[in-house]
Symmetry: C2
Subunit: 390 residues, 2 copies
């Protein structure tokens, strides 16, 4: 039998810029970006905006128009596509269709940009559209939540929901650039703001003990949404995520997902709550459970485990939420674990901790120990209860 072999590599690169008031007329970050990426082609840019952001920041579109009329390096499409923020835009096919139609109507081609301003959900949707329209158009992201600036908005994944399943459809497709503008965060509710912190705790726990200690030391400032502390938190968390993604397996061909520490249960908790529990909140619950497991499994020092649980509680994460607890082998989270194993093709790969800053992959999980871990989390959280519900 004759065989022809095909083999090639594709190089991807993009920058994540940390800035403030990106559409301020004195901020050259964006105009410099377009000047430096000039290709001689006529280029257009069209914006998709999260409705929540647009309502909270009513001058946004006016500012964008003023910016592009000052710096006329690229042609701004006057048609702005506003989509509902949050999971709704990933569930509703009409949002996908509206963006596609605007791309067609405004002649956005492979030399032009689809820019998205919003939380992780809107970025996931717009990133997906950018990946499939004309087999891929250029894409810029302006994340507006802590979670999307430190994690979801800077990576390579996009997606929408279908058949009742989160991210059933999507691609791996890096953006052309990400602009993390700290001032976008000002109008966030404290609940959504804080939910982004758990991803920073997560990545610190598996990769960087010093960062974990920094978060511990700055817990009060962070809870007060202090700008400098927030800026550092986001920057370091983004950096650790980017380093990991740029490492061995950017498009997740294998099964190993250390960045998904705490996530096997988080995904199930989110769906059990019908997405009333936010992703970051569920991740905090998942971190607590897997930290307790690491202790009971004699991998992690007990005192260190307690520091982790205490930190999560100080950020008001409800780690003993009823949906996050495992009372018996019939608990829904155990069912979730089975689905997760199936999803991985039969072989489990779950990250636990052997130290603060050190994740390690396990290929099996002791269900009885998991039930005890859940109990340990409840016991530990009990004294904090009054604080949470005061």
């Amino acid at each position: 039998m004759e065989i022809l072999r095909q083999s090639f590599q594709i190089k991807y690169d993009y920058n994540v810029y940390f800035t403030a008031s990106i559409f301020d007329l004195n901020n050259k970050a964006l105009s410099d970006f377009f000047r430096n990426s000039d290709t001689g082609y006529l280029r257009k840019i069209m914006f998709v905006i999260d409705e929540g952001v647009n309502n909270a920041q009513p001058n946004l579109i006016k500012n964008i128009k003023a910016y592009f009329s000052k710096y006329c390096c690229i042609s701004l499409v006057q048609d702005f596509v506003i989509v509902p923020g949050g999971e709704e835009c990933k569930n509703d096919n009409k949002c996908l269709y509206d963006i596609m139609e605007a791309i067609d109507a405004n002649g956005i081609d492979r030399h032009s940009y689809l820019a998205a301003i919003g939380g992780g959900a809107v970025l996931d949707l717009a990133g997906y559209v950018s990946a499939i329209a004309h087999r891929g158009i250029k894409h810029l992201r302006f994340p507006t939540t802590v979670l999307s600036q430190n994690d979801s908005g800077i990576g390579v994944k996009n997606g929408i929901n279908a058949f009742g399943k989160k991210n059933f459809i999507g691609t791996f497709c890096p953006p052309d650039a990400v602009f993390n503008d700290i001032n976008f965060l000002q109008t966030l509710s404290t609940r959504i703001w804080k939910s982004g912190i758990s991803e920073a705790i997560k990545v610190a726990l598996i990769k960087d003990a010093t960062f974990f200690e920094w978060i511990e030391a700055n817990q009060v400032l962070l809870s007060l949404r202090d700008t400098e502390a927030t800026r550092y938190l986001i920057k370091r968390c983004a950096e650790l995520h980017l380093m990991h993604i740029g490492g061995a397996d950017p498009f997740e061909k294998g099964s190993s997902r250390p960045l998904d520490f705490g996530h096997w249960s988080a995904h199930k908790i989110e769906s059990l709550s019908k997405y009333q529990i936010l992703h970051g909140e569920a991740v905090a619950m998942g971190i607590a459970l897997d930290t307790a497991y690491s202790v009971l499994n004699n991998r992690l020092d007990e005192a260190k485990g307690q520091r982790i649980l205490a930190l999560l509680l100080k950020f008001d994460f409800h780690i003993d939420h009823p949906l996050a607890l495992i009372h018996s082998l019939q608990s829904p989270l155990i069912k979730g674990l089975r689905e997760f194993r199936e999803h991985l093709g039969g072989n489990l790969a779950i990250t636990f901790l052997s130290d603060i800053g050190v994740g390690e992959e396990h290929n099996q999980i002791d269900l009885q120990l998991l039930i005890k871990s859940s109990e340990m989390v409840s016991q530990f959280a009990k004294p904090y209860m009054p604080l949470l519900f005061q």
Copy 2:
């Protein structure tokens, strides 16, 4: 302003296997493939089949079932998704939905395969679904037309139509393997069979004079659908396409598309004919026009130009089809050229010939010379008319 840079490479490789009767119980190509790619995961395979092929080859599904029950290296999903062949499946969202739903219902995950058997249209659709379901599942192609075995089915592009535009949606996403089974071609109509030859002539003209001479020398055998000649034609054409794709720009980030020689007008001719003219037939018309232009522009020797036009006519390509002719600056093809220029972001990049086997890129096109080129094609084809319509 602080900047984090992300940079990584992704390696892609896949094989194109040339075989016959792939589901014959004695053919080990497929079972070897699964044995060699074993990862220890539970893997499934689900088939999408072109209705035209399934009708023409009524034992196909029975043979597939028998094959996988003999070689039980992977679990065969008993649900076969049959989709209409040809452009219809790329236009009709229901086909996309049916495949997606079957993926969900049968638990096809990132370790499992979606296999597609069919012409270029069904492969384009199934390739697209494979690229987006679960952010990419594994994908095998079994092309069943000359065109898809030598060109469309072995490459990295997929797509569906939307907003009345061909391939408005799609991705660049290499398959995991391609199995070119010569026996699939037996049930093709002669018209569809022959339409695939023009892509071989095209790639020979821009890359390989020896291959062009081989096609000239074997024109009669090829027209008679001789197996050995066909096998060589497909193999060499596939090889030239693969070499080009694996070269400078696999995912077409730039504007240069030498493989699209003859295609700027072909795409417009197909759409003007409401897709009654097949892709390969339109490409033959496009090759004729751009060959004539290369001669009149003093880049290509006239005698060589005539050899090319003569070869196209010997394969019965209707190179002076009314929709392919340009009588004035108001002709629809001139409008198509303008759209094409726009599509390229304002800068034209069209391949013409400076010799047989040598393409060269031009950034402008002389419209008056194009009208004369069309006239040259008509004049040349006139004596062949009776042959075409006898």
